[in-house]
Symmetry: C2
Subunit: 142 residues, 2 copies
DNA sequence: GCGCTTCTTTAGAATTATTCCAAACTATAT
DNA sequence: ATATAGTTTGGAATAATTCTAAAGAAGCGC
């Protein structure tokens, strides 16, 4: 049988992480953090995480999944990837990197941050500061 | 009083454009094309174009605005800019260029195509071809 | 541990953007 | 003019996300 829940150690670690981000380590937040950070970096949507939680036997409402994703993003534990007007993707990799976005099936593929160089960004309007530079390489079946 | 509708000449030109794109020059398409291409390049949403049409005295349903925006995009007369998961922006400038996106107020500002250079894009997975590379420079009030 | 206060969760309603639908129209070719 | 195929439209339908008010847990002081 497949292991469903993350092990206790990683859950404890998740709780600690939450605490230091100023978030109470509630059952649902700890469980979601376990699902999110217990494995390799990956991409997800609110719906997909909600489904994954259900499969792992964690009871969480979809509203809480949305809340949690936003709180984690706010806390810098996740980053949001905007590639499609229809749905919001999140990425457990918060480091500087970019994405391929497959327009046929909606898949996201990481491009390591050091691979791509963007030169010539003009200085932003007065009073504004650059928050970050996103590069999306849109690909299609040839 | 402010001029509300585009002049006849530009409407005729719009009709010709539509015809060569394989679209019947209907009253609503011609009117929307007049609003879109009769002036400098700009950014818009379905809602904003619908409102603008209403103000210009053109009767068009919102559904038709959506249809038309997609058809024009398909025909290469408009391009879609994805910067915010919440709404779809369109751009009358279909040339290669990029954008500043102001996260505070949702404003889009063009960055000329020749300004920015993106180097190091890895080759896409087998069987895939790069459709285009979008760069969004997210800015905030400093 | 007990009670209190504050933060969280939740089900379901509400919102928002967008698409779908079937009926009424209209451009175009004949 | 007519017929035909492509369009428009209001309103219903969807989909993703947010809001709300009430019930449930955490954390703190005693």
């Amino acid at each position: 049988m497949a292991k469903k829940k993350p092990d206790k150690a990683s859950l404890d670690e998740a709780a600690a992480r939450l605490r230091s981000a100023g978030l109470r380590p509630t059952r649902q937040r700890v469980a979601l953090a376990g699902l999110l950070f217990g494995k390799d970096h990956h991409h997800l949507t609110a719906e997909s995480l909600h489904a994954q939680a259900a499969k792992a036997g964690v009871r969480v409402s979809l509203a809480t999944v949305y809340n949690t994703l936003h709180q984690f993003t706010e806390a810098g534990m996740l980053s949001q990837v905007v590639v499609d007007a229809a749905r919001s993707y999140f990425d457990t990799n918060t480091g500087a990197h970019q994405h391929f976005y497959c327009e046929d099936d909606g898949a996201l593929i990481d491009i390591p941050g050091e691979a791509i160089a963007v030169a010539g960004v003009p200085s932003p309007p007065k009073g504004m500061a650059v928050d970050r530079v996103d590069v999306v390489v849109r690909i299609k079946r040839a």
